[in-house]
Symmetry: C2
């Protein structure tokens, strides 16, 4: 019998469709490759990107070779950094200028060194660059939210294959985050506990959806997974803001992310994937600062979502906003837990 499961964060139902039960080998992962062309992210092509915003370098000059991680503005930004929002009504509609930021974190100078294969120290640098850019963008009161995300493989939306992560700062709190925040607020209001912490406790006790867990982080297949082999990763102690992550926490996160992405790569034959961080909205953003701030620390728990792209989102999902998942999260977690990884 298929089962409907409810996601308490997104307040969303998902169909776990056992009739269509699929195992890893049943998914034909779309080819990850992207057509070769002159890569603007490679070392030596620094003049092919807009001037860098920051980089980790050993004393080498800006926009020249000799960097480990490099952050540049997106050459074709979805949102633009200059200008005011100019909020306005247009008949029954509403409009504002597309003010925001769109940056690219070039994860490595090496063209074909995938995230899953990078040394932990390199992943630490990528995460440290994300933290630094996030905290800088949070100072801009026009930006309500900053999303850190990665598209890996063309079927996941990547247009360049050189390893990179992106950040987009938006002038509105995105609906997805607003819903999670409201769920957290509602729960805290009644129970004075974090909804995410409660869920993590329950998942650790049950165990069957846990992929990996240690004293620092927990990775699980969500109870109401939308997609097969989706992973939710969160710090085990309560942490509301990714911007406040410590160097030590970054180290443990890098170890965990590498492990999970290797599991996905081996179990699902290097599929395209997306990952994205959800952290609290910008508490400094105007004009609604005060309303957020009072209880926000326990209203939200930052987390990372990893979504292998194995199924098509089709008419039913667009028309309803709920999802048909042909692999149960319990089975997905078991496969990912048990997959044999080659030695490092």
């Amino acid at each position: 019998m298929p089962e409907l499961r409810h996601d308490p964060f997104q307040k969303r139902w998902v169909i776990i469709s056992t009739e269509r039960a699929l195992r890893p080998a049943d998914y034909e992962a779309p080819k990850v490759e992207i057509k070769g062309r002159l890569c603007p992210f490679c070392e030596g092509s620094e003049d092919k990107t807009p001037p860098e915003i920051m980089a980790f370098r050993d004393g080498t000059p800006r926009d020249k070779p000799g960097w480990k991680v490099r952050v540049v503005p997106n050459k074709f930004p979805a949102l633009k950094i200059e200008g005011d929002l100019d909020r306005r009504g247009v008949g029954v509609y509403d409009s504002m200028n597309g003010v925001g930021a769109h940056e690219v974190i070039i994860e490595t100078p090496i063209h074909d060194l995938e995230f899953a294969d990078m040394p932990v120290d390199q992943i630490r640098l990528v995460l440290a660059a994300c933290r630094e850019r996030l905290n800088d963008l949070l100072k801009d009161r026009r930006f309500k939210y900053i999303l850190i995300f990665k598209n890996y493989g063309s079927a996941a939306g990547a247009s360049l294959s050189h390893p990179h992560t992106q950040m987009i700062a938006t002038p509105v709190t995105p609906r997805t985050v607003a819903v999670e925040l409201q769920s957290g607020k509602d729960h805290y209001h009644v129970k004075e506990r974090c909804l995410f912490c409660d869920m993590i406790q329950e998942e650790l006790a049950a165990g069957d959806r846990i992929v990996r867990a240690n004293e620092h982080y927990v990775a699980m297949a969500p109870y109401a997974s939308r997609f097969p082999f989706e992973i939710f990763l969160a710090p085990r102690p309560h942490r509301h803001s990714f911007g406040e992550i410590t160097d030590e926490e970054i180290h443990h996160l890098a170890v965990m992310m590498k492990d999970l992405l290797r599991r996905i790569k081996v179990a699902l034959k290097n599929p395209p994937y997306n990952f994205l961080f959800h952290t609290i909205p910008n508490i400094h953003a105007g004009p609604k600062r005060a309303t957020y701030w009072e209880t926000i620390e326990f209203d939200f728990h930052w987390h990372l979502e990893i979504m292998p792209r194995l199924t098509h989102v089709a008419g039913f999902e667009w028309g309803t906003g709920f999802y048909i998942n042909p692999t149960s999260p319990e089975e997905a977690a078991r496969y990912l837990r048990e997959v044999e990884l080659p030695p490092l």
Copy 2:
């Protein structure tokens, strides 16, 4: 400057990103083809599907050749027709049995006769079969909603190429519909007018997003289009329920749908697409009937959404629930309006 636009139905922001402005020729439409194999929907293969639920036939026997449109249960249904919902809590989560219906409307006995190329009379039969099945499923009080949708091409989620439309009946009102219904209710509560009717009036007056309009139907590129060349089609007079569509209205709808799908096929080189109908939820569904019924007639206006699948939904969209659209709806409408169609 990119622009943020707000959709008053879905209460969703969209980024119209002029920096990335793309014209029809810039989109590389993913191949529509699906691997050939023995087709269970072809005439003569009636024993390859579950027994038919209904068909338009000229006196030929059930589950035999000699039909024009044939409706069968999906062989691998996302939801199952038998059983009770058995709603239950599971720790912090909620679960219920996956009770529902999942039917396939086989649009024609001819394997390669695409919707856009069918005679109007054939499209009328398809729409009449949708109406008949919708009204039958609405009698089941377990079903809160019935979605009629089509996936065309494998990138749009189709797994068989023989022309078919699908229906899924769900035991919860899908979030997407619930949000539209609430928007309509809020508007009607204040203004005692239908939000959709107001929008249609305004669009007809402005004109620049209209693709086609006559006294029966209006087709437009939505102000806050999520996807390039997305179309919103609605009856021009106020109509809340697709189940109550008359034969004459079906005729005019068939003419309009054929015209629009031909425009998409020619302008965008036969891209994969999804279409889906949004109609009112099942007012007979238990146990909340009374709450809906009072004002629902003016809270909702049925409509069809057509979405060519030209862009990838990637990390940003998953992480935020808002969309980056590289073609403005004004430009999309103009292209579709002006495309030269070959003679019929």
